[in-house]
C-alpha cells in the first residue's frame, strides 16, 4: 500500500489540477481554417498551420481574445475545390465560426470565397496571391502580397540595379498559379518599358526545357523572366547552366521560385536568381528574430514565407476579434479594415479593397553562393 500511495496521490492531484483547469478556462473562441494538410501540396498547408499554431500559443499566453482562449478548427481541403467548399460549409453552417482563415490556393479561394461571402463570414487568405481574389466580395480578405505588387518590384530592381533591358519570358501554361503570375509579368514588363524578345511556355510535368532555352539563348537576352513552381523552376535553372547560357544572364522568378527547394535542386545553377518576397528569413528586425527563434524552438526547422504570413495573419485576426464590437460578420469585417499591425513582414494594414496596404515590405532577394540574400 505504501508503494501505491504516492501514485494515488499524484493521480488525485493530477485529476484535481485538470478539473480546476477546465472549470476556470472559458469556452474557447473557435475560428475555422481550411488548408491543404494532405496530398502533394501539403507542404504549403502544413507550414501555414505551424505558423497559425505558434501564433495561437502566443496569443493565448497573453490572455487570448475577448477573455477566452483562441482555438482553430482545421479542415483539410487536400487541394480539391469540392472538399474546400464542403469544409467551408461545415465550418460556417455547423460549427458557426465567426471567421475563416485560408484556403491555401487561389483556385480554392475562388470556390470558397463566394460561400463565405454569401453567409457574411469574413475569410482571410494568407497565401492567395492571384489577381481578383478580393474582388470575390466584401468579406474576402488577404494578407499575402498579391503578385501584382511583388513582381513589378522585382522587375524594377532588375532594371534599375542590374541594368536589365531585354528579356525572354518562360512560363508554365497549364497551372493556374504560374499562368496568373505570367499575366502579371506581362503587364509589368510592358509598364516598365522592357523589350520582350520572346515568350515561351512549358507544361507543369515537363522535365526538358532545352528547346525553349536554346531559342532564348540565340536571342541574347539580358535576363530570363520565369513563372514556374519550384520543381520546374529548378529544372529550368539547371538546363540554363547545361546549355551554357552565360552566368550574367539573370533568371528572374515569380513567387513560385521563392523556395529553398529551388536552391536544393538547382545547387550552383541557382546563383544569380532574383525573386521578390514579402518576407525573408534573414531579416534582422527584433520581431522577426524573435519569431524565428520561437519557431525553431517549437518545430526544429526554419519557417518559410507561408509560415511567416500565417503567423502575422493570426495575430491580425486576434486583434480584430478583440476590437470588434461583437462577433457578427459585419463587426469583424469593420474591425479588420481598421486594424493596424506591426508584424514579422513589416507594417500591415488592409486597403479598402481588403488587400495589404503597405507594399514597402517587398524584398528583392538574390541567390549568391547557394543562399538567398537581400539584393544590394
Amino acid at each position: 500500500m505504501n508503494l501505491f500511495r504516492p501514485i494515488l496521490r499524484t493521480l488525485f492531484a493530477a485529476a484535481f489540477v485538470t478539473s480546476a483547469g477546465f472549470s476556470h478556462a472559458a469556452d474557447p473562441l473557435t475560428i475555422g481554417a481550411i488548408e491543404i494538410l494532405s496530398g502533394p501540396n501539403a507542404k504549403y498547408g502544413v507550414a501555414i498551420k505551424q505558423g497559425f499554431d505558434l501564433g495561437v500559443e502566443e496569443i493565448n499566453a497573453a490572455g487570448g481574445v475577448r477573455g477566452a482562449p483562441l482555438a482553430i478548427a482545421y479542415e483539410d481541403s487536400a487541394g480539391s475545390k469540392e472538399q474546400a467548399i464542403n469544409a467551408a460549409r461545415q465550418l460556417i453552417g455547423r460549427a458557426k465560426v465567426p471567421l475563416l482563415l485560408g484556403p491555401t490556393l487561389s483556385t480554392e479561394m475562388f470556390a470558397v470565397g463566394p460561400i463565405a461571402n454569401q453567409r457574411q463570414t469574413p475569410i482571410i487568405g494568407t497565401s492567395t496571391t492571384a489577381i481578383g481574389v478580393t474582388d470575390i466580395g466584401p468579406f474576402v480578405f488577404r494578407t499575402s502580397l498579391p503578385e501584382a505588387d511583388v513582381i513589378p518590384g522585382t522587375l524594377r530592381a532588375a532594371r534599375d540595379k542590374l541594368g536589365v533591358k531585354k528579356v525572354a519570358v518562360l512560363y508554365g501554361r497549364d497551372d493556374a498559379f504560374t499562368k496568373s503570375a505570367y499575366d502579371v509579368m506581362k503587364t509589368a514588363l510592358a509598364d516598365l518599358g522592357f523589350e520582350v524578345l520572346t515568350t515561351e511556355t512549358f507544361g507543369a510535368k515537363d522535365t526538358d526545357f532545352s528547346a525553349q532555352l536554346t531559342k532564348i539563348a540565340s536571342l541574347h537576352p539580358d535576363a530570363i523572366v520565369i513563372s514556374a513552381l519550384a520543381d520546374a523552376g529548378a529544372g529550368i535553372l539547371l538546363a540554363k547552366q547545361a546549355l551554357g547560357l552565360p552566368q550574367n544572364v539573370r533568371a528572374i522568378g515569380g513567387n513560385g521560385m521563392n523556395s529553398p527547394k529551388v536552391l536544393e535542386i538547382a545547387g550552383p545553377a541557382a546563383d544569380g536568381l532574383l525573386v521578390g518576397s514579402p518576407w525573408f528569413v534573414g531579416k534582422s528586425d527584433p520581431l522577426n528574430v524573435k519569431f524565428i527563434e520561437a519557431y525553431r524552438a517549437k518545430y526544429g526547422s526554419d519557417p518559410d514565407q507561408f509560415a511567416a504570413q500565417a503567423y502575422d495573419t493570426i495575430k491580425i485576426a486576434a486583434r480584430a476579434l478583440n476590437e470588434a464590437r461583437d462577433l457578427s460578420g459585419d463587426a469583424i469585417r469593420d474591425a479588420l479594415l481598421k486594424t493596424k499591425f506591426e508584424g514579422v513582414m513589416g507594417a500591415f494594414a488592409f486597403t479598402p479593397d481588403r488587400s495589404p496596404a503597405v507594399v514597402s515590405g517587398v524584398l528583392v532577394l538574390e541567390v549568391a553562393g547557394g543562399k538567398f540574400a537581400i539584393l544590394k
Binding site: 494532405s38 475545390k81 499562368k179
Partner: protein, 282 residues
Amino acid sequence: MPAALDDFLWTYQSLIASLGVNGLLALSMYVVLAIGQLSLGQAAFMGVGAYASALLSLHTGLPFPLELAAAMLIPAAFALAIGAPTLRLSGVYLALATIGLGELLRIFLIQSDFTGGALGLSGIPAKAGFTLIYGCLAAATLALMLITRSRIGRAMEAIREDETAAAVSGVDLPRYKMTALVVSAMLAGLAGALNAHASSFIGPNDYGFDAAVTILSYALLGGVGSPFGSLAGALVLTLLPEILRPLQDFRLVVNGAIIVVAVLYMPHGLIPWRPLRIGARP
C-alpha cells in the same frame, strides 16, 4: 423552414448537389458498361457539357433549358465522331480513343484563352437547384429502368454477355453500341452542365483521367446489373469521404480499405440483382 434544417441544407448544399450530379454520371457510365463496352471519356463528355453551358451562360442570355440541351447535344456529336470508327472494332479501342479525347480536351482548354486557360471559368450563375438536379436524375433513372426491363434491355444484356451470340440472334450490334455511347455522352454532358451551374467554378483539370476513373469506379463498385447499382456506387463513393471526415488523417486510408473490402467480397457490386423483365417468369 426551421432554422436548423435550413442550416443543415446550406452546410451540405454542395454535397447534396454533387450526389445528384455523380448519380447522373454513374448512370451515364452504366449505359456503356451495360452493353459490355468500356469508355473512359465520361469525364471529357462531362467537361464538354460543362464548358459549353458555362460559356453560353456567361456570354449569351439563352434560357437555361436551351443551354442544357446544348450541353447534351454537343457531347453527343463528339460521341458520334469517336464512336463511328472505334465501335467497329472489338477490344479496348473505344477505351483508348476516349482517353485520347479526354487529353485532347484538357490540352485544348488549357491553351485556349476563350475558355480561361488554366484558370478556368468562374462566376457561373447558380441556376441549378436541387429540384432541377434531382428531377433530371429521377427522369434518367426512370427512363433507364424502363429500358432495362424492356426488349432493348434484354438485347443490351445479350450483347454484354456474348456479342457473337447476340449478333447471331439478330441484335443490331452497331446501332445498339452507338446509341448507348451517344446516350451516355448526353447524360454526362447534362451532369457537367448541372455541376457547373451548381458550383460556379470550373477548370480544365476537373475533367481529366482521374475524374474518368472515379466515374468508372461508381459503376464498378455499385454493379452494372441495374441502374440502381451504379447509383448506389455513386452514393457511397461521394458520401464516404465526407462521413469519414472526423477521422482526419486516417480518412483516405479507411476510405480505401472500405472500397477494397467491397470489391473483394462483393465482386458483382453493391446491388447485384437484375431487374425483372417484362414478360419474364419470376
